[in-house]
Amino acid sequence: MAKRRFDLKALPGFTTIAVICFVALYLPIIILVAYAFNAATSTSEWGGFSLKWFASAWNNDQVIDATIRSFQIAVLAATFATIAATMAALATTRTKAYRGLTFKYAFINQPLMVPEIVTAVALLIFFSRIKVWTGYAGLGYLIGAHTAFCIPFAYLPIRARLESMDLTLERAAADLYATPFKAFRRVTLPLLWPGILAGFMLAFVISLDDVVITNFVKLGGQDTLPTYMLGQIRRGITPEINAISTAFLLLSILIVTLFFFASRKRD
């Protein structure tokens, strides 16, 4: 291999800065995970190895309840967001360039730039009005809110995939007598699938993780796992929070890994 003219690794301090970054990123998480196995009631003094906090979390109905709710919301919101994002991506890449297309890109991605707290307050006011009018008090508000802020996250990988796809393939399908619908189902969709999976995965993780908007929009008894944990921390931390965090972390890693391999296989 030809020697590269410019090697980032040769810069002075590269290794040091890299190590500092990794330590800053992962050391707190490692400590958090370690103390999940603490036998003592403290999150700073080691009292021997134990799994009792995992057991305590497992037997805590509120934790289980919040976890199930988190997943319900994430699955539904990510699904809706992915469908909407796929349609938006098709509409912005598979039509002839027209005036206002760039504006449309910005419009779709705007939720990424609006401060979350602003969206949260806006949704709170909007949904409370709807609640007064309709009397509806279900999970719909949370699912709707999550869907909304998940769309740009699902949109980005799907659009990237569509843009990198060879348009001639769709043209070839049309040339071989495929109607637009059949061309989409037989050629575009199968090739787009990895992008859709990636978009869904991102949306899912973003939804699972959300605190700010959820905290504003949720009604009484609609805690998700993150808002439940936030509530617990206000009352003083026990290693149970560490155990929940650890389980949450493992679950996230597991899901992301599964999606990663699923999308790789389709590629």
Binding site: D166, L169, R171, A172, A173, A174, D175, L176, A178
Partner: protein, 363 residues
């Protein structure tokens, strides 16, 4: 038997852009392509040849004009309603399907019964000699094999016309030569009308029954490879196809397709001219380098000059001659085994023309 037209392009224009940026990719083009013909659209990139192919395929719609397929205007139809298939420059094989599935795609879309599809796929695989690779993914086969699959896929639904968009440009020289012969064979065996787009003049001459030379959105000349090469109508065609010498001359007389012209040396020679033109006054003549010889200057020389350069090419030698009136002239002479043809740089030579070698250009 009168030739039936498979495709008739009538007064087709295609404009791109708007306002000042608007330009005509096709400028009022008309051409007829006969049934069972190997027809080539030849021209440099940007001449409109691919645009014309895309209009016939239905990937784009003409701004003006008609495209008739066996008498029916197909210009407004979407591509999936036209009995015309395309072999793409990039092949555009579906990467998520096997070779067999790719070939079956068009037939499936047409709703053919399963048994018929299977038989047809097998037949196509045999036609392009790819039987063994039916279940391979298209990413697992070579460029030449992908080319064959692309051909088989486009031929499987038995289109009325097959469109080929520079399909050989991605192949290396040897494979390209093989595929040229293969394409000719396929056209002969299937009896399907081929419309082939290329910028490679050699490819066009080898394969085509007829060639349309295009430039700047217009068709300049349509004819057999011999017509195009030996009887170019305009300067662009003469220049684009093969090496050419241009000479100034004055018309002495012209009638019945035969003319006599006087060269700047004072010598008078016979010349042909494109039908429909009536040459007079000062004209430009075309003489191919292989239709002239260098010899010692004498009374029969059409021109006299001196040799500026001698290029030995194995099979033949190129003599770059500067004529006495200042015009450059190249002579290509076949080599015999005992060395080159005996003329050296700076030597004075006469240019001898064979019978009937000069063509008068329209412009």
């Amino acid at each position: 038997m009168p030739d039936k037209n498979a495709i008739e392009v009538r007064d087709v224009s295609k404009l791109f852009g708007t306002g000042d940026a608007q330009f005509a990719a096709l400028d009022n083009v008309s051409v007829s392509i006969r049934e069972n013909e190997f027809f080539t659209l030849l021209g440099p990139s940007g001449c409109g040849k691919t645009t014309l192919l895309r209009l016939i395929a239905g990937f784009d719609y003409p701004t003006d004009g008609q495209i008739l397929l066996y008498g029916q205007d197909i210009a407004p139809l979407p591509p999936f309603k036209r009995p015309v298939n395309t072999v793409f420059q990039s092949y555009a094989l579906f990467p998520h399907m096997t070779v067999g599935q790719n070939i079956a795609f068009g037939l499936e879309m047409l709703g053919k019964p399963k048994a018929e599809i299977e038989a047809r796929v097998a037949e196509m695989l045999k036609l392009v000699r790819m039987e063994a690779l039916k279940d391979r993914k298209t990413s697992q086969i070579s460029g030449g094999q992908q080319q064959r699959v692309a051909l088989a896929r486009a031929l499987a639904p038995q289109p009325k016309v097959l469109l080929l968009d520079e399909p050989l440009s991605a192949l290396d020289y040897k494979l390209r030569k093989e595929m040229q012969i293969e394409l000719k064979r396929l056209q002969h065996e299937t009896g399907i009308t081929f419309i082939f787009v290329t910028h490679d003049q050699e490819e066009a001459l080898t394969m085509s029954d007829r060639i349309a030379v295009m430039s700047a959105g217009k068709i300049l000349q349509v004819g057999s490879p011999w017509d195009i090469y030996d009887r170019p109508a305009v300067r662009f065609v003469a220049d684009f196809i093969g090496e050419t010498n241009f000479l100034h001359a004055d018309v002495v007389s012209a009638n019945d397709g035969r003319a006599t012209v006087r060269l700047s040396s004072g010598k008078e020679i016979p010349a042909t001219f494109p039908s429909g033109s009536s040459p007079q006054g000062k004209v430009t003549l075309v003489v191919r380098p292989e239709h002239a010889r260098v010899a010692a200057p004498n009374g029969t020389s059409a021109h006299v000059g001196h040799i500026e350069n001698v290029v030995y090419l194995g099979t033949d030698t190129h003599f770059h001659v500067r004529l006495d009136d200042g015009t450059p002239f190249i002579v290509r002479q076949q080599n015999s085994r005992n060395g080159h043809n005996g003329f050296a740089k700076a030597e004075r030579v006469g240019i001898e023309f064979g019978q009937d070698v000069a063509q008068i250009l329209k412009d």
